[in-house]
């Protein structure tokens, strides 16, 4: 876009605005197929979803679909199960994304900076392996880890500690841990990149000035990678908000609805109860939650610049 501005700006009187309509229409040509595709396959379905959210469309049981205005949204706010899902979604996001993936990813990245090469390679590949595994496979793996006869309880038994039926007693914690297990690699990679960008001289200078390890980390490293923290938090949060396969495979939102986050709730309404309209409205609300998070992070990042 920058070059386009310069070239197009020369003959016209409004230098800030390029004139794509006159002069250089061919510049848009290579983009046309992609734009059409996007409109067809992305814009179309999204617009259709927005429309459905305002109707009472059902998968079965009703022959006609009527426009019902804001009914679905009103219903959501009056629905105990929806509120429960919102709370669980926030807990899940806070635990697994903000606290878990983010902190652990940063810690791993910082530690790996100092580690010897073999240790670094080994740790890196283990963590990344967890990330590469498809979500549903990760779900089954962790189901096997947490279930009553699972690995975790076997370990606890071996250590002489009391075993727990994790998926039943603490389902939201179990799925949060699963998400940390799976998603930490991403944060680690982001932070590894950010940390390696910090010029050596600054750290050395601080060292000369007598700053200890923790002090250097707090006063030098953290401020210098703040933007990466913001980006990482935003991506993590958005990704965590939409986690479905992991929870579905591990608990199906149960027992009761004690691990029913918004995506699971949405699926349940739309496909188990056939209420497509209501389910879609919930999906839009989820989108809204994601947007709020994004705006907050973007604001935080802007202030730092």
């Amino acid at each position: 876009m920058a070059t386009a501005t310069k070239v197009a700006a020369a003959p016209t009187e409004t230098p800030a605005r390029p004139g794509p309509r006159r002069g250089r229409p061919l510049r848009w040509l290579p983009l046309a197929p992609a734009t059409v595709m996007l409109l067809l396959f992305l814009g179309g379905p999204i617009a259709y979803c927005v429309y459905i959210a305002f109707t009472n469309m059902q998968l079965t049981g009703a022959s006609s679909t009527d426009f019902v205005g804001l009914d679905n949204f009103q219903r959501a706010f009056g629905d105990d199960d929806f509120r429960n899902a919102v709370v669980l979604t926030l807990v899940f996001t806070l635990l697994s994304s903000l606290v878990g993936q983010n902190t652990l990813g940063l810690a791993l990245a910082a530690l790996m900076q100092r580690a010897s090469r073999p240790v670094r390679t080994l740790t890196g590949s283990i963590v990344i392996a967890a990330w590469v595994v498809p979500e549903i496979v990760a779900g089954f793996l962790l189901y096997a880890f947490f279930r009553r006869e699972g690995t975790l309880n076997a370990l606890l038994d071996w250590l002489g500690l009391p075993s727990q039926n994790w998926l039943y007693t603490l389902p939201i914690l179990a799925v949060s841990f699963a998400n940390v297990w799976r998603g930490t690699a991403f944060s680690m990679l982001v932070y590894s990149a950010a940390l390696s960008e910090i010029p050596k001289e600054i750290t050395e200078a601080a060292e000369v000035d007598g700053a200890g390890g923790l002090g250097r980390f707090w006063h030098i490293t953290l401020p210098m990678i703040r933007r990466s923290i913001g980006t990482n938090l935003m991506l993590n949060t958005l990704q965590t908000l939409s986690v479905f396969g992991l929870i579905w495979a591990m608990t199906r939102g149960g027992p009761g609805n004690r691990s029913q986050t918004l995506p699971v709730f949405m699926y349940d309404q739309a496909f188990n109860k056939s209420l497509i309209g209501y389910g879609t409205a919930v999906a839009l609300l989820l989108l809204l939650v994601g947007a709020v998070f994004s705006v907050v992070y973007l604001r935080l990042m802007r202030e730092e610049v």
Partner: protein, 458 residues
């Protein structure tokens, strides 16, 4: 150079149009019948696949130039229904013939997915062989029939005589009321440790399995609301949960809170149904199972879990009513039907395939291999059928006292609401009374206010 822009645009549009239409498959081929059915999630079980492949062969031989395309959908029942409903929405993906659970068929009729079969049935002599309850199973509120049933099922108590002997219980056990079931379970818990005394399906994850096999087997035995504890067909209104409803939930609560049932995390596992017949019963880990007539099929030589000694080990008893009130026993029946989709382009050919499926030989074979309880008089009398499996006469005998679920479009939603109430009561999250209350609230919104209280009997 300018004209290239619209050209490329047109080309792109053409390409995408091509993409979307080829996604639909051969929807308009007039010589092919597309048949969608549910394949078992247990990979060892392929009765239906094999039977349909055999009928397909017969059909293609008898109708030269015509083809049958079998579309197996390997999924649990809830997911199968969702998938098929999505397919039926669009003419591009709609199969010609679908295998439909009778409890969903009215919902799909209301949604306009299916085609009435009356014109075909009028000319079809075999239809007279079907018993009346079966004929009604796929009849919609508009009085038209939308499916041909190919069998039904009944439910009762299966019990392990060896475990019973160890616990000092009789081999010809036949409980007279709910209490006697619980007493037997308590005895087993005390005398035969390590064995799960009683399995009653519960919770959301097993879907309709827990609602029908678990909850409704209890509820219909309470005798509440004059024997129609869910739906009053006269008033066309749904019945809100009364005492019978809470009692049935209370029974579940007793079973699971007193640890007479399986571990709760096993009970809430979506695949618990498969575990019961493939592990718990054959391995002697479960003493009493409230389950369906079809279990025996899995233990035949051709079944997924061959277990020749099962008929010596297992006994059957009818499920008693709550206090033993008349008629003393209770059963629920369902079954599946073949239905032609509204968007099918080859309904006549699809009907021909149904006729082929329902030749007497094919019908007998099907009821035998799938352990169905026959819905046709000629099949029920066929010696091959009556001798096909130990216990088949017992379960056929239950047909007298059986109940069918309300055949209204919103039943599947009601079923989901019941599953939630069961799960809440089983996990102890809420009391049975509170779970029943929350069911009432949901029911009112599902039935659009058309509800009636369970009434004075409670």
């Amino acid at each position: 150079m300018r004209p290239t822009a619209p050209l490329i645009l047109a080309a792109t549009l053409a390409a995408t149009a091509g993409l979307t239409s080829c996604g639909g498959g051969s929807g308009s081929d007039p010589d092919t019948v597309k048949v969608a059915y549910n394949r078992s999630t247990d990979n060892k079980i392929r009765f239906k696949d094999n039977h349909l492949a055999e009928v397909k062969k017969q059909f293609e031989k008898a109708n030269p130039g015509k083809k049958v395309k079998l579309i197996p959908i390997q999924a649990q029942d809830n997911d199968y229904a969702t998938k098929v409903q999505q397919m039926m929405r669009s003419p591009k993906t709609a199969p010609d013939l679908v295998y439909e659970d009778t409890f969903r068929i009215n919902s799909d009729i209301k949604a306009g997915y299916l085609r009435p079969l009356d014109d075909y049935l009028d000319k079809w002599k075999t239809w007279d062989q079907f018993v009346d309850t079966a004929k009604a199973a796929a009849k919609a509120e508009d009085g038209k029939t939308y499916g041909v049933p190919d069998g039904t099922d009944t439910r009762g108590l299966w019990f392990n005589k060896k475990i019973f002997a160890k616990a000092g219980l009789p081999a010809d056990w036949s409980p007279k009321n709910w209490n006697e079931i619980l007493e037997a379970a308590r005895t087993i818990k005390k005398k035969v440790p390590g064995v799960t005394p009683l399995n009653v399906y519960t919770g959301k994850a097993p879907g309709e399995t827990s609602v029908m096999q678990g909850f409704e087997m209890l509820l219909y035995g309470t005798g509440e609301a004059g024997g129609n504890p869910l739906y009053d067909p006269g008033a066309k209104k749904w019945v809100t949960g009364g005492k019978g409803f809470s009692d049935a939930l209370g029974f579940l609560k007793t079973v699971y809170s007193q640890k007479l049932g399986p571990d709760i995390s096993d009970a809430l596992d979506p695949n618990v149904g498969t575990t019961v017949f493939s592990e718990w019963l054959p391995e002697g880990k479960l003493a009493i199972a409230l389950d369906g007539s079809w279990l025996g099929q899995n233990w035949l030589k051709t079944g997924g879990k061959p277990w020749p000694e099962w008929s010596k080990t297992l006994g059957q008893a009818p499920m008693p009513t709550q206090h033993g009130q008349a008629p003393g026993k209770v059963s629920m029946s369902g079954g599946w039907t073949w239905a032609i989709t509204a968007k099918s382009k080859n309904p006549d050919l699809a009907w021909k395939f149904i006729e082929r499926l329902q030749t007497k030989d094919n019908a007998v074979t099907w009821d035998i291999v799938d352990a169905q309880i026959a819905v046709r008089k000629d099949v029920a009398q066929d010696p091959k059928y009556t001798s096909s499996m130990p216990g088949i006469t017992f379960f056929t005998g239950l047909v007298k006292n059986t109940h069918y679920r309300p055949t209204t479009p919103v039943y599947p939603q009601v079923s989901t609401a019941i599953g939630e109430a069961m799960e809440a009561a089983t996990t102890g999250d809420t009391s049975p009374e509170k779970a029943a209350k929350s069911y009432d609230d949901q029911l009112k919104s599902i039935a659009d206010g058309a509800t009636v209280a369970a009434g004075g009997q409670g």
